[in-house]
Subunit: 145 residues, 2 copies
């Protein structure tokens, strides 16, 4: 069985949730895409397949997937919202260019370690995290000069 399905089922088991056709389809569809996506587009896409999915169900499932750490939410400075799968269940962080809007990814194990230690120091049990850095990308910085 695919790893993300297994993880989701484990999560649902732990939290008293039920495994449903819709939830699995939504997860599968999200995991087919490697890049970030908007919910509205996603709903169009998944509805085009076969079943009908209500907006409510998609959002309800997204919330659970977030909790389960299987997807990440990305917020732009101007309020746009994207989601994306968590590659290999290893969360990565985002740099958002305030000028062109492009989104870059960074992955730093050392940061993970430090944050885990910081949490442990006060007995906090982390479930998932969100790290966004807003600024200007190289292209936009040099273009301005």
């Amino acid at each position: 069985m695919k790893k993300h399905i297994q993880l989701f089922e484990e999560y649902l088991g732990k939290t008293g949730g039920r495994v449903t056709q819709q939830k699995l389809s939504i997860l599968e569809e999200i995991y087919k895409t490697r890049t970030h996506f908007e919910v509205e587009d996603f709903i169009d896409r998944i509805r085009a397949k076969d079943k009908k999915f209500s907006r409510a169900t998609v959002y309800r499932t997204i919330k659970q997937l977030l909790d389960a750490g299987l997807i990440q939410k990305i917020l732009t400075r101007d309020g746009k919202v994207y989601y994306e799968r968590t590659p290999d269940h290893h969360p990565h962080d985002h740099l958002l260019c305030n000028v062109c809007g492009k989104i870059f990814e960074i992955k730093d194990e050392a940061v993970d370690t430090l944050l885990s230690q910081a949490c442990a120091a006060i007995g906090f049990r982390p479930e998932y995290r969100s790290l966004h850095i807003y600024g200007q990308c190289q292209r936009c910085t040099t273009a301005k000069l």
Copy 2:
């Protein structure tokens, strides 16, 4: 002159913004509070003083203060939004308990350093950042056992 006022004026100068009575009052009022606050409450509070402040102006100013790094935005898992001043202009990060909703702060210089390096590595010029860790605080973890 107070440091935050000075920083804000510098920021406005750089970005072609104007220094207005409202902006300064909003900044001052925010800096009187050390804890996080909701915008709606804030508007009530500042309106109670002397002037009228439109919701729009408050939001427009908040956006500029965010860009200037003078305040930080906090997002709870269930969508509540708080803002708070950035103490001494040193951004700190937030741990949010998904059970009791309490918000903890952490400050780790080493994380700052690592992130700065990661940005520099791809030529990204960071302006401000948002780092939230969601999970369970010590009290809620032990209470559950």
